[in-house]
Amino acid sequence: MKDRKKREEYATLTAALADGEIQDDALRAEVELLISTDPYIRAEYIVQKSVKSAVKQKCTYHSCGSELKKCILEEIKSFCSKNRSDIENLLYRCRTGVVGRLFRRKLNAIKRVFN
């Protein structure tokens, strides 16, 4: 059972070997040795390598079209300006509106008390 678990761990490492992701030289040598001596590990390695290569070769990379890019950026810009005007409107209302006047009156009253 323990051997089987260990074997499965090595089988998983064949993925890392196919991806050039084993940094430890000793471990890499150990996995490479197993690939040349153990048919089970060799088959696992072949599967990892052949699937990786098939996917890499056959799946074309699709770039985001310039229209979509433009559309996204325009939406962000419009979101930007909408939010800016909301905040500016709020500040304007605070400066000129009833709430703003009441707030300023209260603030002046507090200032007078402390002066």
Partner: protein, 187 residues
């Protein structure tokens, strides 16, 4: 009081996030399998990213941050369409894989030729039929070409999980491609 959505923030966003749009679109397309849905997903991701861009820590990996937002957006908006959670009979696939995996180096050469005959569409269909977690690692590693560490950062999990998912995903993919090849008479 500072205005949150100012020109500087937009300029920073354009410099940091916009260069990754192609990579995100390609990932979205492979995840959804549909160009319109992919466009919507990229658009939702970028809008969400911009709204929370003040939370992004400058100097950290912006692409990983965007991928995480896309993954969450995908889960929240797109996976909702499927009412039932994905079910996958791993045992059945593993058993099938054990029966069809190469038994010798000669077989392996033969199978390489078989895989070479498969079309992009057939491989894309096989990838899109994988469970989501496995599909994600295959796309990121084999199509986008990211390292295990980058993928671990993107999907927020340990490097060991990336390795084991990738190992398992390729085995599932092998079984599916072998099946396709069989139905086309290549095997």
């Amino acid at each position: 009081m500072t205005i949150k959505y100012d020109g500087d923030l937009y300029a920073d966003f354009e410099r940091e996030a916009v260069p990754h749009m192609d990579a995100l679109y390609n990932f979205a397309l492979r995840m959804t399998g549909d160009s319109d849905e992919a466009s919507d997903l990229v658009q939702d991701t970028y809008m969400r990213a911009f709204r929370f861009f003040d939370k992004f820590e400058k100097g950290t990996n912006c692409k990983a941050w965007l991928f995480r937002i896309m993954k969450n957006t995908y889960i929240n908006n797109y996976r909702k369409k499927t009412k039932e959670p994905e079910r996958y009979d791993y045992e059945e696939v593993e058993n099938y894989y054990e029966n069809v995996k190469p038994s010798s180096t000669e077989d392996a050469h033969l199978e390489k030729e078989i895989f070479d005959n498969l079309l992009d569409d057939q491989i894309a269909t096989a990838i899109s039929s994988l469970p989501e977690d496995f599909r994600t690692v295959v796309i990121l590693a084999d199509i986008e070409g990211y390292t295990y560490e980058e993928i671990a950062d993107f999907i927020d999990c340990p490097v060991g999980t990336v390795r084991s998912r990738l190992h398992r995903a390729r085995k599932m993919l092998y079984a599916k491609l072998y099946d396709y090849a069989g139905s086309k008479g290549y095997v």
